[in-house]
Symmetry: C2
DNA sequence: GTCTATAGGAGGATAGAC
DNA sequence: GTCTATCCTCCTATAGAC
């Protein structure tokens, strides 16, 4: 009888770390750093508490690992905004991608929101600078569109934050959305409708037809 | 020598409860329910911990009192949206009032955001219904404007949530805004600029000139 | 109404057997 | 790499003197 090889140490580590992080992001997103108990993370991971400490020295270490990983999510949706695309096309692709991210990664979105709500105490200045740089690049694209007469002269930072807020809302404040729409939870159709509404109002408001 | 009368029991109670609630909303808004320690509230109130328990039986009692009180903030800014005003005037008044609320009541806004982020566990169904009713009234106003041909046909719930999100953002995500704008904190000018941007893009996008 | 003291329990973190 | 047992700190909440 052929025995399947036992997983190597490295594989066990990778698997267990992943379990812990997956459980942790959920609990942190709901209760924040101080409200989260290691025992809860351990239970949700299916690991004993001592094992959590075997993989991560402190609660901070878990939290910081998550902050670092989720920061890349910040970049991804922004990739749609590039100067050589037409603004309507680029911005609606961004809105769509961000709403999809909100829909499919509710927990990660909320984790990030929670951290920001608390003033970003766990963000290193390097990470803040990264967010700033990434955003500034996109702001410059918007400025370029304005210069080319493709958009009305809005303040690009605030314009950008408006889009971010309108899309982030559906992950962070699902409760508010559900109460407003009188539903127990949001469906794909609701996200589609959100997309239509944002595109229609925002883009028709600031784009200049050729 | 004339002695000033000592304050009555009722006055002492009112004053101390106010101190406690003021300290509590700040800490809850930063750390959430589970992350907040009564000792911290006591320190911030300038009262001994046992006195906090004298005025409020449990941590829940403090939190619920705050939820109940802050729910009225939800209504107030909405009062601007009434059918007999012109939509541009009414909506820009709403945006202005909501941004002012975000600017002047950052802590209360964040407390509310925190509660929503956690799924509104502390909201009674009566309170949810209240939010729903208040919102629906305004949604009907928007529907009326659309019927009158004063606005393009947007989905009014999502339109409304977009406005809420765009304005709430400046209270909840001050950190993101500050990082984006490369400042240590936001000034009045930044809020004015936010107002201009939201009004310009959203209203020009959905209003129909007469 | 104020405050000290403390019960009773939970949480973060570690030691050390397996 | 896993897990039990445990240390020690800190928390919620209460008792009871003043």
């Amino acid at each position: 009888m052929v025995m399947s090889k036992p997983p190597s140490d490295a594989r066990i580590r990778a698997r267990n770390e992943a379990k812990i992080l997956k459980a942790a992001v959920k609990i942190f997103s709901l209760k924040g750093f101080d409200g989260t108990r290691i025992a809860e993370i351990a239970d949700a991971s299916g690991l004993p508490k001592a094992n959590v400490y075997y993989y991560f020295a402190t609660k901070e270490a878990i939290y910081e690992t998550l902050v670092e990983r989720l920061l890349t999510g910040w970049d991804k949706t922004l990739e749609h905004i590039v100067a050589d695309r037409e603004p309507r096309e680029a911005l609606s692709a961004y809105i769509h991608a961000k709403l999809e991210y909100s829909r499919r990664h509710v927990i990660e979105s909320r984790f990030f929101a929670n951290e920001m709500l608390r003033g970003g105490r766990f963000l290193s200045s390097g990470q803040k600078k990264h967010m700033q740089d990434i955003t500034r690049e996109r702001v410059e694209v918007i400025e370029e569109w304005i210069r080319q007469g493709k958009m009305v002269a809005v303040e690009p930072n605030h314009f950008f934050m408006m889009l971010w807020a309108a899309t982030q809302f559906y992950a962070d404040f699902t409760t508010v959305a559900a109460v407003t729409l009188n539903k127990s939870q949001l469906t794909r159709d609701d996200y589609d409708c959100a997309y239509e509404t944002i595109v229609k109002t925002v883009l028709d408001g600031c784009l200049i037809a050729e």
